[in-house]
Symmetry: C2
Subunit: 339 residues, 2 copies
DNA sequence: CTGTTAGCGCTTTCAT
DNA sequence: ATGAAAGCGCTAACAG
């Protein structure tokens, strides 16, 4: 291999200064627009920067300024459509602001999550966005006095930590009420993990909708899932194995709705003709399932965007603005009127 | 709000040294295991570190050592199941290695991609993984003499840049051959964007399979898509609008296969009974569509893992190891024998 | 085994 | 308007 292409040692601000025949401070001033510089020097420096391919070393800048221009994002799963949508919002919220994000995963584990936050803090991120965090509010607050934090899934509102929460109970409520309005009386529920707060709230919404309609709550119609496709399939299978009677299924999230739908397909049961199905999340793929899924739309993208703006505000000591749009039922083609 | 919880100014190595009554070098040595230190001092330092909640400033470390312990990942879409799987591989490949990754998106745009790479370089990443890059090989090589790069989608093998390429042509070939073996004669193709190299190669595979089976290539059966769901739906719609006769559809990727499937559903056409369908990618969701999708499995996760290991090798000047497993057809339930 | 010293590349007073 | 100098927090010779 020819070595002439070999690693150019990256040029430094000092190199540029020498080449342009000015002091380092002058170069720095031009770079940051910190002060006026005479036109001739400016031109010389810009030229030098250009043909030396100079780019400031962000680590040096960061060390000096005490700001890394990096924010940390904590997700629970590096590869899930759920987090993806939110990340897209974050990405857009950061665009053009000069910030970069580093994404780490807590893997749905409070222990690991705290660990990753410590890592981010060591990396001197300027702020943290916590998505579906598992750690306690107290822990969040603890970390928050090192760096500002905005978190989803909790209501927080202190000087350096704020949180947005969506109304899971309400979301589940409107989903089930929709089914009831369609004439369904026996509605099965594929739940989320019992230790998950979102799951618990959705269960509460399911319960309330039933109660308000004077429908009996039948525990046999509630099957535990874990938010993944496989659990949806298993859950519905279980419903059939135990010979439950039902005309509709409400799944705690879209992924488990997909699993439920596959189970139904396997059994030759038509959706929505024989059984209605509604999910929760409205993942991007849910408008392209066959048939497209009726589901509760979570403003995932907006949440990412709003959280990012809020964090930027906290970082700059500005007042935080923006609220999360409400949940909304998207009626597509997996539900229909009974009879 | 009570201010007593207010921002603790993060303690520095010097603080620790003072508190433990030793020199900064000693603390550094303990931190890095660089040299032996007497037991009593070690204990004192560790204690100090502990109760001052000290964590080394990575920016300072990085500046000094010239290594940021960060690698950059360039994807084209921050929220796509395709990149997700690969990122999961990268994440696992990095685990426990002390490296953090920063993910940026080129948004399927060569210009922006180059921009993001420059950004990563400015952030002093120790290496870059380029996923489905759009920039020219020359550009990659150019950047590569600043930092090692490993790229997917191209064959590269220089001192500081290596690339892995999957055999798209072969993948498409086995997909179509499967259909032919099942007795299909008129096989429609929903292509990818014509300027996309992967798409072009897949088209070549489709063509070869047809040719080898002495089947005529009918241009009317080839409809342009763009790798997204909507384009799959539109493409198949177009096929019907123009009254084409076909018994099977090969879609250039899973996402467009989903769209195609929805179109078929809308028209009341059964899959696979009336029409067979095969995709390309094997996204995680493809085993949970109804019916589960027959598709060409791309080892996305492995690609991420292997690319990461390769990059780590490049960074440490070690010999690069590992090859990407071959593509493989996963026969599920959207294809069936004709008649 | 341990402390002193000199920077890594940049920004920022402080003079001029 | 511009340069000299100090220093962000850490590591790595170099002495001892």
């Amino acid at each position: 291999m020819i070595d002439e292409e070999s690693s150019t040692p990256p040029s430094t601000l000092l190199d540029v200064a020498r080449r342009a025949g000015v002091s380092p401070s002058t170069v720095s001033r031009i770079l940051n627009g910190t002060a006026r510089v005479s036109e001739d020097k400016r031109v010389a420096v810009l030229a030098a920067i250009d043909d030396m391919h100079f780019a400031p070393n962000q680590m040096a800048q960061g060390l000096k300024k005490g700001r890394s221009m990096t924010i940390g994002i904590v997700v629970q799963d590096i590869s899930s459509p759920f987090f993806d949508e939110t990340l897209r919002g974050v990405d857009d919220g950061l665009r053009g602001k000069g910030y970069t994000s580093v994404i780490v995963s807590g893997h749905w584990n409070a222990e690991e999550e705290a660990d990753r936050i410590r890592l981010l803090l060591g990396r001197k991120v300027d702020g943290i966005i916590l998505l579906s965090g598992r750690i306690s509010e107290q822990t969040v607050l603890h970390f928050a006095n090192q760096r500002p934090i905005v978190s989803t899934g909790r209501d927080l509102h202190t000087k350096n930590a704020i949180g947005f929460k969506i109304d899971n109970e309400y979301g589940a409520y409107i989903a089930v009420r929709h089914l009831i309005e369609l004439g369904h009386r026996r509605i099965a529920y594929v739940s989320g993990p019992p230790d998950n707060i979102d799951a618990a709230e959705r269960l509460a919404g399911y319960t309330r909708a039933l109660r308000e309609a004077d429908l009996a709550l039948d525990a046999r119609l509630i099957v535990e899932g874990n938010f993944h496709e496989a659990s949806g399939l298993l859950a519905v299978n279980h419903l059939f194995d135990t010979q439950q009677q039902f005309t509709a299924i409400f799944a705690a999230n879209d992924l488990s709705a997909y699993g439920a739908r596959l189970c139904l397909y396997r059994k030759g049961i038509r959706v929505p003709d024989d059984i209605s199905l509604v999910g929760f999340d409205d993942l991007p793929g849910s408008s392209y399932t066959a048939p497209p899924l009726t589901t509760v739309h979570q403003p995932l993208y907006d949440i990412g965007l709003i959280a990012t703006n809020a964090l930027l505000c906290l970082i700059n000591g500005e007042a935080v603005q923006g609220t999360v749009p409400p949940l909304e039922l998207i009626v597509r083609e997996t539900t229909r009127r009974l009879r």
